[in-house]
């Protein structure tokens, strides 16, 4: 996605949608519902195509400026799951060749740039990231994080970029990653002053704050002199990979790799040997940002392949046609109830498998299912891929 395109420049692309709705459902012959908001609201408006029509409605003068907040309200329900971006080949044909998901992100960015906010909380989160360099309000978590980080060797040419969600909301993922890497005898660093990658700002439609975060993170990495950055959150990696080159002149002269891919490589090299049997059934939820954005569907599955006795049962909608957990695109901040409804829909896929544990590789997905557990009777056991691997190591 190119960040600095205004709506007028996208007019050609907006006019291409012919309402075929292929952005909303999966491949023939199964034709699974795929767009989490169309699936829920049923009106065309709430779909990749519908959001494009809304943007075109602005350009056609059908929506007055004082109603732009209503456009943002609809757009904010989109979880940026990127199914429409991956599927629609038509809209992308027109210049400047953005995919549907990017067009929706650009719609949000343009609206926020023109001073439209959805709520006070929307503004507060943006301000908080800019001021504190993290999106959350912390209290005691800082101490726990310090304790965890004390086990990091802080040497070598590898950096673990934890990300705010892993550090503060799913720190057990970080704990597992540290345990696994320490068992493998890998030298690595973590930043003492890691700042938010900027993904929440992008999701909330505010990109002007990302440059400062990118400059800090890239400068720190440069000073540390590492050659490889291992990400524990796919949202962070996507931001580094696709957004940083647009907001910073600093080069990404290091390898970017996701933790599951890196660990799979260590297993292949016999550095890690999962040997403990895990005799239970799991089902793997493909995170949208790891799959449809970064193109990695197999590394986690490759790890499960090497764990004795574990049994992977696929959900009907998997890999390129995995259904979103509802948390992405800022939806968790901007429309929490909507994001939970989507998560509940995804949980039905999991329940149908009969698996005992839902495994994923994204801290946001994990936090979504954990939140869902608060409102359902039959709780879902949720683990990160790295936690599962950690259990299997002696």
């Amino acid at each position: 996605m190119e960040l600095d395109i205004n709506l007028k420049e996208l007019e050609r692309q907006f006019s291409l949608c012919i309402r075929c709705k292929q952005c909303t459902y999966g491949s023939w012959p199964k034709n699974f519902p795929m767009c989490p908001i169309y699936d829920q609201y049923k009106f065309f408006t709430y779909s990749g195509g519908g959001l494009i029509y809304l943007a075109r409605g602005i350009l056609l003068g059908l929506i007055e400026k004082d109603r732009y907040d209503e456009v943002l309200k609809v757009a904010s329900k989109c979880t940026s799951c990127n199914y429409c971006g991956q599927t629609c080949k038509l809209v992308k044909v027109g210049p400047p060749h953005q995919n549907v998901t990017d067009l929706i992100r650009l719609l949000k960015i343009n609206l926020v740039n023109s001073g439209v906010y959805l709520s006070e909380e929307h503004k507060q989160v943006i301000d908080r990231v800019k001021e504190t360099k993290h999106p959350f309000i912390f209290s005691s978590e800082e101490e726990a994080l310090k304790t965890l980080k004390s086990k990091v060797p802080n040497k070598g040419k590898i950096l673990i970029f934890s990300g705010c969600l892993t550090s503060y909301k799913t720190s057990e993922n970080l704990k597992a990653a540290i345990e696994v890497l320490n068992k493998a005898g890998i030298d690595y660093h973590m930043m003492n002053n890691e700042w938010c990658c900027g993904a929440p700002l992008l999701d909330l439609g505010n990109v002007d704050g990302i440059a400062e975060l990118a400059e800090h993170n890239l400068e720190t990495i440069k000073v540390m002199g590492v050659g490889k950055v291992v990400f524990l959150c796919p949202h962070c990696q996507e931001t580094f990979q696709n957004v940083y080159p647009q907001v910073s002149e600093k080069k990404l002269d290091f390898e970017l790799i996701f933790i599951t891919k890196y660990l799979r490589e260590l297993i292949d090299q016999n550095v890690l040997k999962p040997s403990k049997s895990l005799p239970y059934r799991i089902s793997y939820h493909d995170p949208c940002y790891l799959g449809r954005y970064l193109g990695d569907y197999e590394s986690a599955r490759g790890i499960f392949d090497k764990i004795p006795k574990i049994s992977l049962v696929e959900m009907e909608r998997n890999r390129k046609e995995s259904y979103c957990c509802g948390g992405g695109g800022g939806a968790k901040f901007l429309d929490y109830d909507n994001s939970m409804v989507i998560c509940q829909e995804r949980s039905k896929d999991f329940k149908k498998t009969g698996a005992e544990v839902l495994v994923t590789s994204c801290p946001l997905c994990k936090s979504q299912f954990r939140d869902l557990n608060q409102s359902i009777n039959k709780k879902i056991v949720i683990k990160d891929t790295v936690e599962v691997l950690s259990e299997s190591l002696d």
Binding site: C17, R19, C20, Q22, W28, P29, F44, G57, K89, H97
Partner: protein
């Protein structure tokens, strides 16, 4: 109509009672997205969008609309590029996409009964499971079967039967529910279009939602045969192609055949995957009539299926008829070298019985689709083709695409000529619009060709004399308040 007034609220409440609150919206954001399509038809905003889930809801919504004299524009998926579902100002959009049940697949009598929201992707998936297929259009898989069939499609299997409609259940504007053909009788299924009384199913075809709301359609389905093959035959003249298609249809050799011109079949080779620039084969910018090209003037796709013994014989006859009309069957090597992507797409469409994803739609990325569609007798069409291409060439337009096919065993021929125009070039778009209107008049006067669809030109119906009188009388009878799709300007 102001949203805050009592009248609006009364209608809103009545619609909610009729279709359920969750299926009704008067939200400004929803209304905007139902105000226009990708065509140049000017946007008009409705007051309500209603998505009924069953026939009774449709009936009740129409009763509300009639009571309040509110126009109703019906759409199933709304997938079209010519403004057919742009609503009337201040009315109701009745979107039927969630009436999407496949009610019956009758394997014995070979028909399917479906609701209007069932898409081609949904129906073909179910039919394949049961060893059946249906007529497939050159439309996206998300287009609805009922919407397509009511518009008199030009899809596969149309050579023998123009369309695949057997019967409909339709709700008239006053709420009366009507079934046509055999299903009009109690206890009877939809197996036969024609009963002892006049055939009323045809009344709702090409009526663009102005006479009733179709809530069920029965369509012909066909068993998948033991053996299937799509042959591609090359010709150096349109006359030869037309004669060939007539003969293979009338000889019952082909289940379906279509004539494609060079620009359209080479269009499949456009590389849409490149991020920045389209890679378009140079031949698409040449004169489509040029003889110096190494590529045939036309390719004809011939779908044959049946028992293996029939197929062996049919292939021999096909070769004979190709030669007799100065054509030749494209070899595997020819296909691989010249039209690999087109052949792949035709294979899915005709021999695998489903619509390949985005294959048809992504070409709209070339520009605004502008089409001129007529039907004529075969000999007339040969002359029309020559002159029609010249008209477009005079405007320096590229590409100049067309495809053509026999209907009803070649009694009539279908001809769709089209191009893609830069949407920013308003002047050229206007010129093409005017040219097409003149061409319809020219083709009728000189060659007895009729427009294929209503083009929002009230003069078309006015030319029909007694037919118009009868149709208007029927309209007045069933829709005295003219609530159904007045924006389409048919009446």
């Amino acid at each position: 109509m102001s949203k805050n007034n009592q009248f609006h609220n009364q209608i809103y409440n009545a619609l909610c009672s009729a279709a359920g609150k969750e299926n009704v919206s008067d939200s400004e954001m929803v209304l905007v997205t139902y105000s226009f399509d990708s065509s140049t038809t000017p946007p008009t905003k409705p007051d309500f969008v209603v998505m009924p889930r069953d026939t009774i809801s449709v009936k009740q919504v129409l009763e509300v609309a009639n009571r309040y004299r509110t126009p109703v524009t019906v759409m199933s998926a709304g997938t079209n590029i010519v403004g057919m579902t742009v609503p009337s100002e201040g009315g109701i959009v009745l979107e039927l996409i969630w009436m999407n049940k496949i009610i019956e697949i009758n394997e014995d009598a070979a028909y399917a009964v479906i609701e209007p929201g069932v898409t081609f992707d949904e129906l073909t998936a179910r039919l394949i499971e049961k060893g059946f297929r249906c007529q497939i259009p050159t439309a996206p898989g998300g287009a609805t079967v009922t919407g397509n069939v009511l518009l008199k499609p030009s899809g596969s299997l149309a050579n023998r039967h123009l369309d695949s409609l057997i019967g409909v259940e339709v709700v008239l504007p006053d709420g009366t529910i009507v079934r046509t053909g055999s299903s009009a009788f109690p206890f009877c299924g939809y197996f036969m279009r024609y009963g002892p009384f006049p055939d009323l199913a045809g009344l709702f075809c090409s009526s663009y939602g102005t006479l009733g709301v179709v809530t069920k359609a029965a369509i012909r389905i066909y068993p998948i045969n033991e053996s299937v093959k799509v042959s591609i035959v090359a010709f150096d003249s349109f006359l030869d192609s037309v004669n060939f298609t007539k003969e293979v249809c009338r000889g019952n050799i082909a289940e379906h055949c279509i004539i494609w011109n060079r620009h359209i079949y080479k269009g499949y080779e456009i590389d849409f995957s490149s991020k920045n620039e389209l890679s378009v084969p140079e031949v698409i910018y040449d004169d489509p009539r040029s003889k110096d090209s190494n590529l045939p003037y036309n390719l004809v796709t011939v779908l044959m299926s049946g028992y293996q013994e029939d197929m062996d014989a049919h292939e021999k006859v096909l070769e004979k008829l190709s030669k007799a009309n100065s054509g030749h069957i494209f070899s595997k090597e020819d296909i691989e070298k010249n039209i690999a992507k087109a052949a792949e797409s035709w294979k899915s469409l005709y021999a695998e019985y489903h619509i390949p994803p985005m294959d048809q739609t992504k070409k709209y990325g070339l520009g605004r689709y502008v089409a001129w569609i007529v039907q004529a007798e075969p000999k007339s069409l040969v002359s029309i083709e020559k002159e029609a291409i010249q008209f477009l060439d005079d405007l320096n337009i590229r590409p100049i695409c067309y495809y053509s096919m026999p209907f009803d065993y070649g009694r009539g021929m279908f001809f769709r000529l089209f191009s893609y125009v830069n949407p920013q070039d308003k002047e050229l778009l206007a010129k093409v619009g005017t040219l097409y209107q003149d061409m319809y008049k020219w083709a009728m006067k000189k060659y007895g060709a009729t427009p294929y669809r209503h083009r929002r030109d009230p003069n078309n119906l006015a030319m029909t004399g007694g037919y118009q009188t009868l149709l208007r009388a029927i309209k007045k009878l069933v829709d005295p308040n003219n609530i159904l799709n007045p924006g389409i300007t048919l009446f």
